[in-house]
Amino acid sequence: MRITCPNCGTRDRREFYYLGDALALDRPAEDAGLGAWDDYLHSRDNPAGETRDLWCHEAGCGAWLIVERNTVTHAVHKATLAEKVKR
């Protein structure tokens, strides 16, 4: 598997650390309530198809990336800098 890092170009996946669903971007407020925090911490879909994950180019530039890929075809569509994502 290779991911095209916006800073470094196409690199082998061994350079990257995988975190999980990009839902981690949407951190609830401190007082959002236990339900919202439980969801944020623990509830994840396990889709057969398109996913949006957070990866860190740890052995490269250190950038956190949002990688869009397909768990069925194994296609890696796109990687964007998490820093640049508007929330």
Binding site: M1, R27, E30, L34, W37, C56, E58, A63, T73, A82
Partner: protein, 965 residues
């Protein structure tokens, strides 16, 4: 027998016998040239077997190469190159290949039918693992591993290209030429020692000249193109995601001291062209496995390419036009063709040898080598004397790679075989015989056309020119199994015959996948290269379905066996595992300190002195240095993260539970870091060197984790913060100087004497260390008056030597990890033994460190009710007069030591020379309320039971006066 005496011969051995061969030719050719028919014993029945093919599809002639630790089993004699001194031995036979005791299996074969062990060895159950399986495994099998460490070197490598051409026969060469001429970066890989594929093995012309000359011209042209890379001896073994292909290269010159044996490649190609050719399939007729019965195409390959004739009187048995090439080529080479048997009534063939059409081979004779065959013809039978029978049941396109990503091949009736389904592998196209196009003309044309398409798709402008070649169509009438009695072998490598497959169908293992598992047909290492289609046809017949409905089993990578050593090249022993050394490493080793691993780092365990016979003595002495004089310890392995920017303090407030924005410049504060789920992630001190400049320390173990975490916070959660972080762990060498004499010791190396007023506990700042700008932190992990002094790494070793030398003058010296651990346990300081991922700030008694004034990572989740219940297991100290163990469970004094009664466990233990008793840190239910009670410690693993007294985890100097004073 050789047709001509070769000029250059070398000697190798087969089962100790010295054999002459031509360097580079396959060992199978040399064996056949020397009249050696019996080469192996079969997997299950130990039947005598000989060379069957001339390539990677060989099922019978598996041999062991080399001896002792270097022995490599199950090497195909057909792809093993002859070289001087090569040691080849047969396998799966005892005491010898000719007189194999296990051949008794063949006599009792009716009891060993497919699936026999599922039925026979059912009872008693416990016998399976201890008795039946080992016995079966020893009796059935291939070569054995030596069990020793492999001393050979292997390599792995990566390559990238526009176009990967897999196979270098007529289609592959044309594809490479066309793509190369168009300017694409091409890699062409072929598993043979020379490129040309079947063109090297057939007698035919291209462009009016012998095909072998055309091949040489093509190779010369490819070699002249800088954008083309040719890889011989390289088998593409698998197709993977994103245009990645695995390939195994057998490096030329086996056992050459300066070269690896094999190299495993990962080739990344924008596009791939599969030109893998086709494999000839056998016909199932009674006793079709005798040494001397071979594939027809292999027989003529040995004659045409290596000048070796596999027999003196050869017979040919086929169901297609191609088989007659063998008779024609052999006759042209002056070899006696004793008979040609074509199963087709309407076969139109001519030749200067006896030809039987509408005939079949129904029996064979010759246990250690074929002697005669019996032909059924015109309602009668006829026996023919022959020592080599060339058989051909037609050709199977090599579709394997197209199936590696769940693709299923498509049945083609006219060639009675499977062809690749288009787009089975993204980016891969197929051409030539692997596509079912069997004539040379079609291979050349398809190779060129497909490559032109691929090149155009890459934005290049290809030209297509196709040389003239033979385009005579190939016709066959399917013949899978000859009717009649006797075992008709289908999968020679796994000893599966027609009856086994019928038995599977009869026992309702009718699905092709079930049949495979019941009979072991098509299992490793051969993966059914030659046997699959025949087996499916027999299964289809037995179940009354057509072959397309029956389907085929999945072809999985690798196409040929790949040694684990090649895939794991560079990972033997320590392999490429990084090692991190502190600047004091050499000095520590010079003091005979045993170095222990701490993550990737190596740290001194203790520094032994003359007369000390046990680590405990050294450790106790080193603890004494710190408690009574002064000790020096390299703490450079702790993570050091430099944090700068206007929002540096805000970042720290967000990642630590406690407040850092209130920290004064020139001061250090202990910080506790949570995971977002509310559990403790790491701890450490952070120093404020300037208004917008901090240096954070992390534990050695979590340095990488914390760094990544900070980047996550800055980039993902709080991209509004203007701060940058960078690891400076390796830039600074840092030493703890601890003990009542710490100040005095430091003053011997600092440019200016320290003033206790200006440098109180938890102060930090810049200092001159023997003229070098350094940093000083007054922090203590031992509970003593202590400092950590840091200098740029290049001065680390000399500073360590200066500090330790001075410490020794003052009655102290260096201390290692053992002493460091004792010192921190005596003080109740936690490490990752306690912060093991399941403990909360509440559990370790630091709930008050979670600031109410701000949000921080983990704050919301830490507030969940379950994470601060008084019933939770809380950090406590435990004391005893006897030795304690870590990992032991805690029980009420009189409770049974069962899992349900466990109240907690110990995490760290030591003998405290300071307090002269054994100490432990651990977690105990409601522990903070139980100080003073006596409970029971029980270690089931080490069989230790002790009564322990519960106390505060800070065993020594609970008010902390020594560190502050």
């Amino acid at each position: 027998m050789r047709l001509q005496a070769p000029e250059n011969m070398v000697t190798f051995t087969f089962d100790g016998r010295r054999i002459k061969g031509v360097p580079g030719e396959p060992v199978s050719a040399a064996l056949l040239a020397n009249g050696i028919k019996l080469v192996a014993r079969s997997f299950k029945y130990h039947r005598p077997r000989g060379v069957m093919s001339a390539g990677a599809e060989e099922q019978n002639a598996l041999v062991t190469v080399g001896q002792g630790a270097q022995a490599e089993p199950n090497v195909r004699a057909t792809t093993l190159e002859v070289s001087e001194g090569l040691e080849v031995s047969s396998q799966n036979a005892w005491p010898s290949l000719r007189y194999d005791m296990m051949a008794v299996n063949d006599l009792i074969s009716p009891f060993l039918a497919a699936g026999f062990y599922y039925k026979t060895f059912m009872w008693p159950r416990s016998f399976w693992e201890k008795l039946y399986e080992p016995v079966i495994r020893r009796a059935a099998g291939l070569g054995a591993l030596s069990g020793q460490t492999n001393p050979d070197t292997y390599e792995k490598a990566f390559a990238f290209c526009d176009v990967l051409v897999i196979g270098a026969g007529p289609a592959g060469l044309m594809a490479a030429l066309t793509a190369g001429r168009a300017g694409a970066d091409v890699i062409i890989a072929d598993d043979d020692t020379a490129m040309g594929g079947r063109l090297l093995r057939e007698c035919e012309d291209i462009e009016g000249k012998p095909a072998r000359e055309w091949v040489l011209d093509a190779l010369a042209e490819l070699d002249a193109m800088p954008n083309v890379r040719r890889m011989t001896r390289t088998t593409v073994t698998g197709a993977y995601d994103q245009g990645t292909y695995g390939a195994l290269e057998r490096v030329a010159g086996r056992f050459a001291p300066d070269k690896p044996l094999e190299c495993f490649w990962r080739i990344v190609a924008q596009r791939a062209i599969l030109c893998a050719g086709a494999l000839e399939r056998p016909i199932a007729f009674p006793n079709n496995d005798r040494p001397g019965i071979m594939m027809a195409s292999a027989v003529r390959a040995y004659v045409n390419r290596w000048g070796v004739t596999p027999g003196k009187a050869v017979t040919v048995f086929g169901n297609n036009d191609d088989a007659h090439r063998t008779a024609r080529d052999l006759a042209a080479a002056g070899i006696k063709v004793a008979a040609v048997i074509d199963s087709r009534d309407d076969a139109k063939v001519a030749g200067d040898y006896p030809i039987y059409t509408g005939a079949q081979v129904i029996a064979t004779k010759g246990r250690h080598g074929l002697q005669s065959i019996t032909i059924r013809h015109n309602g009668g039978t006829r026996m023919v004397q022959t020592d080599c029978l060339a058989m051909s049941g037609g050709w199977n396109p090599t579709v394997h790679l197209t199936c590696h990503m769940n693709g299923r091949p498509t049945w083609r009736e006219d060639i009675a075989s499977f062809v690749p389904t288009p787009q089975s592998i993204p980016g891969m196209v197929t051409a030539g015989a692997c596509n079912g196009s069997f004539t040379t003309a079609a291979c050349l044309a398809e190779g060129a056309a497909v490559a032109a398409e691929v090149a155009a798709g890459l934005g290049l402008k290809p030209k297509v020119t196709v040389p003239d070649a033979d385009g005579t169509a190939y016709a066959l009438a399917p013949l899978w199994a000859v009717p009649g009695k006797g075992r008709k072998w289908i999968d020679f490598q796994n000893d599966v015959h027609v009856k086994d497959i019928k038995l599977a169908a009869q026992e309702n293992f009718r699905s092709v996948e079930h049949m495979k598992r019941y009979t072991t047909q098509g299992m490793a290492p051969d993966q059914g290269k030659s046997s699959n289609v025949v087996a499916l046809a027999v299964l289809a017949d037995a179940t009354g379905r057509g072959i397309p409905e029956t389907g085929t089993t999945t072809f999985r990578p690798p196409y040929v066996p790949v040694s684990i050593a090649a895939m794991g090249a560079g990972s033997q022993g320590k392999g490429f595992a990084p090692e991190r050394f502190t600047t004091s490493h050499k000095a520590s080793v010079a003091r005979d300190a045993p170095m222990i691993e701490a993550g990737l780092w190596y740290r001194p365990s203790y520094f032994p002195q003359m007369g000390e016979t046990h680590w405990q003595q050294s450790c106790d002495r080193e603890v004494g240095y710190v408690r009574n004089a002064v000790g020096v310890c390299d703490v450079s392995t702790l993570g050091k993260i430099d944090i700068q920017g206007p929002d540096a303090a805000a970042l720290l407030d967000f990642v630590y539970t406690n407040m850092f924005s209130t920290l004064k410049v020139g001061r250090v504060r202990y910080g506790l870091m949570l995971r977002e789920d509310g559990h403790v992630m790491d701890d450490g001190t952070t120093a404020r060197l300037g208004d917008t400049h901090f240096v954070m320390t992390t534990t050695t173990a979590a340095a990488g984790l914390v760094m990544r975490h900070l980047e996550f916070v800055l980039q993902v959660l709080r991209s509004d913060l203007d701060a940058k972080v960078i690891s400076v762990t390796e830039q600074w060498a840092q030493f703890a100087v601890a003990g009542p004499q710490a100040l005095a010791l430091l003053n011997t190396v600092l440019d200016q004497d320290l003033d206790d007023e200006i440098w109180p506990f938890m102060a930090c700042g810049e200092v001159g260390v023997s003229g070098v700008p350094g940093r000083l932190f007054r922090i203590s992990f031992s509970g003593e008056h202590a400092y950590e002094v840091a200098v740029p790494s290049r001065y680390g070793e000399s500073l360590f030597r200066m500090l330790t030398a001075q410490a020794e003058v003052m009655g102290g010296g260096p201390y290692g990890m053992e002493a460091l651990n004792v010192l921190r346990i005596e003080k109740g300081f936690v490490t990752h033994a306690e912060l093991h991922g399941r403990t909360t700030a509440f559990d370790i008694g630091m709930a008050r460190m979670v600031s109410a004034k701000k949000d921080c990572i983990g704050k919301a989740a830490a507030a969940r009710p379950g994470l601060s219940d008084w019933g939770r297991q809380q950090l406590v100290g435990l004391r005893s007069t006897n030795a304690l163990t870590a990992g032991a469970h805690l029980f009420e004094k009189n409770a049974a030591e069962t899992r349900g009664n466990s109240l907690g466990y110990t995490t760290s233990v030591c003998y405290s020379p300071t307090l002269q008793m054994h100490l432990a840190l651990g977690f105990l239910e409601n522990g903070r309320a139980r100080h003073g009670e006596v409970i029971k410690l029980r270690d089931h693993l080490r069989d230790v039971t002790e009564e322990v007294a519960v106390c505060d985890p800070v065993f020594f100097d609970p008010t902390g006066g020594r560190a502050r004073g």
